[in-house]
């Protein structure tokens, strides 16, 4: 909110220069976000905190400065309103809901002369960013800026039946505001009305009907208090935020209406003449000051610094708080209704802290309990996984946790499989991601513009609807899980099996690193719609540990990639990270390395295409027995014409014993045994 330095100066005999004032306000009260020179004045843009509606005013800021500088404030001259005729003869005020309007003060003034405001008034409004309208409206705005109490002035002649009714709008009721905008209202919006029409949107904006014009002679001034919520919701609903609504929605003190009224009447008399005729003050439940007992020890306990009792009391008094009773180690404070942010001892400590100066509190290390920090096991493993993927040349990416309407359509996600946002930023971020893969594809696409080949991974949360069930975090209806995925993109489309085997190799190494030995790759994949859209129907496996599915690896469906304009091979794996971490075992034991040389033999075999390579490996392993230490597949060849429905597989078999050097005779016998065994299989043929 903008404040003029020159205006603030008027409340004091003397204050420091603007620079010093800016520093003082920033360090002791509110952040000054910007300072602008304007003629001989400086305009301070002060960020008033949400719990200080009393400071949406010059007097509020002046009081802060008064406390900080420890200087008396010069209060502005105000009209004495005691002894004025009470309402009843000339007009009537009726408040329908005292919860929504706890106080309504109105004054009838007669014989004012509407004209242009004097220069000093115009200048002051302009310095605070308000336009000058005429002397009456300007006086009301001036009083609002100064006291913080929004004021509204009606042309008394235009109020039908001289009845002021504060009520909820009717559904569909229309109003034209002072700036000629039309609004359609509903029951959640409060209006000020006469017997027939609404005259103003309460606390937000005045209406055209009872507008002040040059012809206006008699005026009705409104100084009311409205419940913050009804103003806040009304203002949001109408998308209409005004100087008045801003103050009301932060919750104003009902006792402020009279302060505002006294000042505005004085000002109107000054600039427009006229005389007060009658006053109405609807205030069924007056709010009174309250008391807080402050224990001096509490100050030191919270701040960690000793401040003298004398200093504490000086600060509290400087803030306008009354000392009711002082005891040896405590003091009883009376808080004015204006300061509804002060309810607890802690709130008073904050006041003492900021006025005293936070910078005077010196850093002091806490005394701590010397106990070891618990290691969060799952965090530890997650970090290990990150390092490990990095070692395997994957780069970590972060994506948004959202997917778009378009992604939903392309990947054919059903409505019930996604968590939708009530108020998305745009349709681009409409759903929470159910998997890391959709955004991963975008990552791949973007990066293929600059790189022909790359490997990326991501660890992040994924979300799915959970009906009435609660998640592990006790959040009902939504399941939130940590997922881990990696992707390889390559513009040079190689042999498909090679890519898959590479990915599988990485997956296996990765699982080994996590101490998971008993995983296997299952080609039976659950028939979930989005999986069919996403994956290549054949080049896909489910990763299992015993019977538990922990992830999926495979190739992205070429049709989908074409649809997305991605011209590259994309291999992806996604894992349930939480499950992985649960299963992972860190312990590993060393197995001794044989002192005896290994012997290598190659074997090449023709088998029908439908025979799984794993089956051949297992057969060799079984036939070769204990002396086989490893079997590596080093070539696959399946050219149609040459082999007619068969594939040629070449294996390297490594023999090694723990306790002797193997003789070539021994190996020859083993090989004979293996070859014989393999050839016993139907249509298997060892190539010699």
């Amino acid at each position: 909110m903008k404040f003029s330095y020159n205006w603030l100066k008027e409340y004091f005999d003397k204050i420091p220069d603007y620079k010093k004032v800016v520093d003082l306000i920033t360090n002791h009260a509110f952040e000054v976000e910007e300072v602008k020179k304007q003629g001989s004045d400086y305009i301070l843009d002060i960020k008033i905190l949400a719990n200080r509606p009393d400071c949406f005013s010059y007097l509020g800021i002046a009081k802060e400065l008064s406390a900080i500088l420890n200087k008396k404030i010069k209060l502005p001259v105000a009209e004495n309103l005691t002894g004025i005729k009470k309402q009843g003869k000339s007009f009537n005020v009726e408040v329908k809901d005292k919860k929504l309007c706890p106080r309504y003060t109105a004054i009838l003034m007669k014989g004012v002369r509407v004209k242009e405001s004097p220069k000093w008034l115009r200048q002051k409004l302009e310095a605070s960013g308000l336009n000058s309208i005429n002397n009456i409206v300007d006086a009301a705005n001036y009083a609002m800026l100064e006291t913080g109490q929004p004021l509204h002035v009606f042309d008394f002649a235009k109020i039908g039946d001289k009845n002021i009714i504060v009520r909820k709008a009717k559904k569909g009721e229309q109003i034209t505001t002072l700036d000629d905008n039309k609004f359609v209202l509903d029951e959640n919006i409060l209006v000020i009305a006469d017997s027939k029409d609404s005259l103003a949107i309460a606390g937000i904006k005045g209406g055209k009907k009872a507008e002040i014009t040059e012809k206006t002679k008699d005026i009705l001034i409104e100084s009311a208090n409205f419940q913050q919520l009804v103003i806040r919701k009304g203002s949001q609903k109408l998308a209409l935020r005004t100087d008045s609504s801003l103050r009301f929605e932060h919750g104003l003190d009902p006792n402020l209406t009279l302060e505002g009224m006294k000042r505005v009447v004085f000002l109107i008399k000054e600039v427009a003449g006229g005389a007060v005729e009658e006053i109405a003050d609807f205030y069924p439940a007056p709010i009174k000051n309250w008391k807080i007992k402050l224990n001096f020890k509490k100050v030191e306990k919270i701040l960690g610094i000793a401040i003298s009792i004398q200093e504490i009391i000086k600060i509290l008094q400087g803030l306008g708080l009354k000392i009711i009773k002082k005891e040896k180690d405590s003091v009883l404070i009376e808080v004015p209704t204006l300061r509804k942010d002060l309810l607890l001892q802690e709130d008073l400590v904050e006041e003492i802290c900021r006025i005293y100066g936070v910078e005077k509190i010196l850093a002091k290390e806490p005394m701590i309990h010397a106990k070891p920090v618990d290691t969060n096991e799952s965090n530890y493993l997650e970090e290990k996984i990150r390092d490990f993927l990095k070692e395997l040349k994957f780069s970590e990416v972060f994506n948004y946790s959202f997917i778009s309407q378009t992604q939903k359509n392309i990947l054919k996600y059903s409505n019930h499989s996604l968590v939708e946002l009530e108020n998305p930023l745009s349709s681009e971020f409409q759903y929470l991601r159910p998997s890391l893969i959709p955004n991963f594809l975008d990552s791949a696409k973007k990066n293929l513009r600059y790189f022909d080949k790359f490997q990326i991974f991501e660890i992040g949360k994924i979300f799915s609807p959970n009906g009435r069930k609660k998640s592990i975090y006790d959040v009902q209806g939504i399941e939130e899980k940590k997922s881990m995925a990696f992707l390889m993109a390559d513009k040079n489309k190689k042999m498909e099996l090679d890519d898959f085997r590479f990915l599988k190799g990485i997956t296996e190494t990765f699982l080994q690193e996590l101490g998971i030995a008993d995983s296997w790759f299952d080609d039976v994949v659950p028939l979930i719609q989005e999986r069919i859209i996403f994956w290549h129907p054949k080049r896909l496996a489910t990763i299992k540990i015993q019977d538990k599915t922990i992830g999926q690896i495979g190739e992205a469906n070429p049709a989908l990639l074409k649809n997305l304009n991605i011209d590259a091979n994309i291999m992806v794996a996604e894992f349930d990270l939480e499950e992985l971490i649960k299963i992972s075992r860190e312990e590993r034991t060393f197995s001794s390395i044989s002192a005896f040389p290994s012997v290598v033999r190659d074997i090449s075999i023709l088998v029908p295409l439908e025979v799984k390579i794993d089956e051949v490996v297992r057969k060799i392993d079984q036939l070769g027995g204990k002396l086989i230490s490893d079997i590596e597949l080093f070539d696959i060849y399946s050219e149609e014409e040459l082999f007619k429905g068969k594939q040629s597989l070449a294996f390297r078999i490594i023999f090694q014993s723990e306790n002797k050097t193997l003789s070539s005779e021994e190996i020859d016998n083993l090989m004979k045994n293996i070859i014989m065994g393999l050839e016993k299989q139907k249509d298997w043929q060892v190539r010699k």
């Binding site: 607890l344 802690e346 709130d347 936070v358 806490p366 390092d387 948004y400 939708e420 609807p465």
Partner: protein, 345 residues
């Protein structure tokens, strides 16, 4: 005639000549001259048969020793020449070390991950454990338990993404990492020392330093008497370790419903060292987060007795720390998955 004198003469002569060896060629010449088919030593062997029998054996033995010595010496010379030749050959080779090195592919971790680890490590050194929590939260944990009442304008401080109503549940994307404070205090008794790094979301316009999806790190320390002076010390220690500089911190009065008193955390600008520059809008200070003493209502909502326990909480923009650390000019890079950016870390 074969005589001892003559053998000595040859030996002398040989020793003189080998000093002239400077190449393989001269070496071969000398070898041939003495040990070749017509070499002098070879000739002497031919002369032995003409000697009287008593001398045959003597001269034979002498000649053999001589031959062996000569061979040994020549062998050594040959080694020397080879060595010299090899090193000369290497010297002559032309080689350009300025040729570019091969491009080695390696993996990279996200800068936010790197900075998070560093933050965790520093706080771990001060005894803080790193904790996580859910990103989809209930209204209770994100607001009510943190002393932000329903329909309170304070809620406007956090523009919230709401999840579409599901069976009457009003869930949201957490607007800060603070809910984890309550979740942790519900299950642990003080002394409590945790930090909570994580993602949070706000429904707001984005610019160079604001994203609607961002990273925060929350801190919470609760014991019997943890106070503002302690908060200052922990923050100061952290920033000085993190930036490896003697930065200053400034706490400024602020308002958060969940702390009382509340502060903004500023650190002295590292570009101008507090003198005032464009990076800090001429103030000399850069805002990094908020902090305060945990409000008694939050302790109560977490099941702790505010009469017994007291402590601080703080929250900082992790992205901000990353941007400052690596001098990154725009937050948009973080969620871009752009490898041109990520490969720099």
């Amino acid at each position: 005639m074969l005589s001892e004198k003559e053998l000595e003469g040859i030996s002398e002569q040989f020793k003189k000549e080998i000093e002239k060896i400077d190449s393989e060629k001269t070496l071969n010449e000398i070898f041939n001259r003495y040990l070749g088919k017509k070499g002098e030593i070879t000739c002497f062997f031919g002369l032995i048969k003409d000697l009287p029998p008593k001398d045959k054996q003597k001269f034979g033995a002498k000649l053999n020793t001589l031959k062996k010595d000569f061979l040994e010496i020549l062998e050594k010379e040959s080694e020397k020449i080879k060595e010299k030749f090899n090193s000369e050959k290497l010297e002559k080779e032309s080689f350009d070390v300025s040729a570019p090195g091969h491009k080695i592919t390696k993996g990279h971790l996200h800068p936010v991950t790197l900075v998070r680890r560093e933050v965790e490590q520093i706080f771990r050194g001060m005894g803080f454990e790193s904790i996580e929590g859910p990103e989809v939260e209930t209204e209770w944990y994100n607001f009510d338990s943190l002393n932000v009442p329903k329909d309170h304008p304070a809620r406007d401080m956090w523009d919230t993404f709401w999840i579409k109503d599901n069976n009457g549940q009003k869930n949201l994307l957490r607007t800060h990492t603070s809910p984890v404070q309550v979740r942790y205090m519900e299950k642990h008794l003080p002394p409590i020392k945790i930090i909570v790094p994580g993602r949070a979301y706000r429904h707001e316009a984005t610019d160079a330093s604001h994203e609607f999806q961002f990273h925060q790190v929350e801190g919470l320390m609760i014991d019997e008497n943890i106070n503002v002076a302690n908060l200052k010390a922990i923050l100061l220690n952290f920033f000085r370790k993190f930036f490896k500089k003697d930065v200053e911190i400034r706490l400024r009065p602020s308002f958060f419903p969940f702390t009382e008193p509340s502060f903004e955390i500023d650190i002295s600008c590292m570009v101008c060292e507090g003198k005032g520059c464009s990076a800090c809008k001429k103030t000399g200070w850069v805002e990094l987060g908020g902090a305060g003493i945990v409000h008694p209502n939050v302790l109560k909502a977490s099941g702790l007795n505010p009469k017994l326990w007291q402590g601080f909480a703080f929250g900082m923009g992790m992205d901000r720390l990353v941007m400052m650390k690596y001098k990154i000019n725009h937050i948009k890079w973080f969620n871009s998955s752009d490898l041109r950016f990520l490969k720099q870390f």
